[in-house]
Symmetry: C2
């Protein structure tokens, strides 16, 4: 959940948040704040080109006007709410760090809602969250915070995903030097 999207200020930051969510293994993103069909189109275009399926489903982007309502709904549905905030306890806090627990439970059951904010996060979000966690207590970026947390939760395994099953039109073959873009043959087969 990306809170408080503002136009035009957050256009690219929210896009980066969405693309990090997708590339690091989330199955969807919801955003609140101002509705932005340009943001939704950008994300859908990337999914079409590069593939967007997780567990056989398309990576989804949805708008929710009332973020608090969404968080409450997810809590009722048994989700754990992890709010990333520079004011929270350190991700490295050995005693209170929830990541170990989350790794073993919520990730497996896909019942984790990660919340990242914009400039002013309503106080209610802190109260509703099961965990308020900081990725450093310094100002930096919700894009970076989300990436670090998704990476830690999956112990880096998300980088090994080869995206062969994701039915995109193109993919990259990793190279030591230069660029190699290949057409996804599986996608070609599916088209026929």
């Amino acid at each position: 959940l990306r809170l408080g999207h503002r136009l035009p200020r957050d256009e690219r930051i929210s896009t980066h948040v969405a693309l990090v969510a997708r590339a690091f293994g989330a199955n969807s993103i919801v955003y609140s704040g101002q509705h932005d069909s340009g943001l939704e189109d950008s994300v859908k275009r990337i999914c079409e080109q590069w593939g967007g399926n997780v567990d056989g489903k398309q990576f989804a982007i949805a708008y929710e006007k009332n973020a608090i309502k969404l968080i409450k709904k997810r809590k009722t549905d048994g989700y754990t709410i992890l709010h990333l905030t520079m004011y929270g306890l350190s991700l490295n806090d050995k005693e209170k760090n929830p990541l170990e627990k989350i790794k073993n439970h919520e990730i497996k059951n896909k019942k984790l809602l990660i919340v990242v904010g914009s400039e002013q996060v309503p106080g209610e979000v802190y109260k509703l969250a099961d965990y308020n966690i900081s990725v450093t207590n310094q100002p930096h970026s919700e894009v970076a915070a989300l990436a670090i947390v998704l990476d830690r939760l999956q112990q880096g395994r998300e980088l090994d995903e080869n995206w062969n099953d994701f039915q995109g039109k193109i993919k990259i073959e990793p190279k030591e030097n230069g660029k190699k873009i290949i057409e996804n043959k599986k996608d070609e087969t599916n088209k026929k």
Copy 2:
């Protein structure tokens, strides 16, 4: 080194790249592309407020018109050039992954230049780089890629930095719930 900064498109993304660099332990950022005093002012303002010293030096932001010249200069000075690109070898590539080597050598000697691109990175950058490394081969964000690599290089220790020596005006006391901002007493002492 943040390549190819474009106005107004990259204003906030480049700011996030700079703030991630600072928060995750880099001692400076250089950017190329369009000169942007607004970007420089934003970063300097953050350093003033939150502290910006690494090894007793202010976290620095500088503009360099000719990025290729800068990369060549750093190579001559003995720096390792790590170019983050979605086309590169995976950060998880066990055989060719340079991170172990970098961890033990370049980080200690502070001779590492990490390069992150914008949309079109000149081919010469790939050739000049000692390593072209990808943080997934999917499109996402240079902000996230930089954070993940700085986190891995330091094995997460950068999150334990308490910023007491950084002489900022304010700092945050981590809390399970809500916000606590405290004035930096060391800073007060320094002022007297």
